[in-house]
Symmetry: C2
Subunit: 225 residues, 2 copies
């Protein structure tokens, strides 16, 4: 029997492109490191609200984000592409239904969570497609491999108390760890808990775990995208 | 004759701990990569002002910064230590004289800029010592190897027009590249310019340059600290 795997919780929202980058890297490394990855869908806007974090809209910062994502796309090998009207439209429309849907997937068919999350990101952050309409969410779910009937069944549950409560609990858990944005990776190891913010602490995560860092796209791990 | 080295400009302020991390990594890699590093002392607060960036003071963010720096300290091998009263006192006191002093050093004894910058960071961000009083700046300069008389001569120049103008020009150059904070690394290569923000785009920088990334503390490079 090998050493007990360390648990990594990843709190994310498909509205966040940096969440996508962190998600893909952890999905790749979960097969290489002695870790157990727990995907924790939550709501970016609620975390901002509860932490009192109101980042100002700085034009230069928005411009930088576009060029940053263009460079990170190649380096991370994630087909990220900035939606045309991200700040005025996409960000405002939000991801409330999508994140409730992922919460329902996690409760009923957790083995599908990774794929459905990825297909939602592919819509919003690669092909500039909607993720707020029921038809958009169903299309992502079916593309991920859920049967149409299953997907509709899960979609019907997004406004039920158990799903709402579960999403609320996940947001509260992230806040308890000190989150003020997403993604947040929480490392449980040696009786300690470390919270890492963003998608640019992954080499630091490897250092903490005593595992080997081979860049955001480690060779030999076939891309899931 | 080998290929022409690419130029990297590093815009920094000793008030910023993430500037220190970026500075040390680039000082190490300048000996390993085919690059020419230009250190560009500037003023963090002026860049915030000119870009309209007013980050809110979020208690959880301040807490995270303390734990983030504790982890990065080991990983980067930089003896960074959060000053006791950073947000209420140190940040408010600022770095105006220190950054004017570094500008004067850069104009008159550029070969000393790296060492004097490091000694100022050692004061504020390692030993929780003042950097605003003339005596503090002189102590850092002497520790870096400047003769007492030279250091006093440079200190006398910090309120002269040439030094003030040079610092203003450097701030404007950073803004022209799109800066909204520090550190900022500007890469000049193949007729293109890329602006990278923060101390967590250094692996991306290696990727851009086509150079090898060996972590923030590459083996075989003796630490200057």
């Amino acid at each position: 029997m090998g050493p007990v795997p360390r648990t990594l919780e990843l709190f994310y929202d498909v509205l966040s492109p940096y969440s996508w980058l962190g998600f893909e890297v952890l999905c790749r490394y979960q097969h290489l490191w002695n870790v157990q990855l727990q995907l924790r869908p939550c709501l970016f806007k609620e975390i901002l609200k509860e932490s009192g974090n109101k980042p100002p809209l700085v034009p230069r910062k928005a411009q930088y984000m576009a060029s940053d994502l263009r460079l990170l796309k190649q380096h991370f090998q994630v087909p990220i592409h900035m939606p045309k009207d991200f700040f005025p439209t996409v960000l405002r429309k939000g991801s409330v239904s999508a994140m409730h849907f992922l919460t329902a997937v996690n409760m009923e068919q957790p083995e599908m969570l990774e794929k459905v999350s990825r297909e939602l990101w592919m819509r919003i952050w690669s092909r500039d497609e909607d993720i707020t309409e029921p038809g958009s969410i169903l299309a992502a779910a079916e593309k991920a491999g859920l049967a149409a009937e299953q997907a509709r069944g899960l979609l019907e549950k997004i406004s039920t108390a158990p799903v709402k409560n579960q999403l609320r609990e996940t947001i509260e858990a992230a806040c308890k760890y000190g989150a003020f944005g997403v993604p947040v990776t929480v490392v449980h190891m040696d009786g300690q808990t470390h919270m890492l913010f963003g998608s640019d602490r992954l080499e630091l995560l490897a250092h903490l775990l005593g595992e080997k860092w081979m860049g955001p796209a480690p060779p030999g791990v076939s891309a899931q995208i």
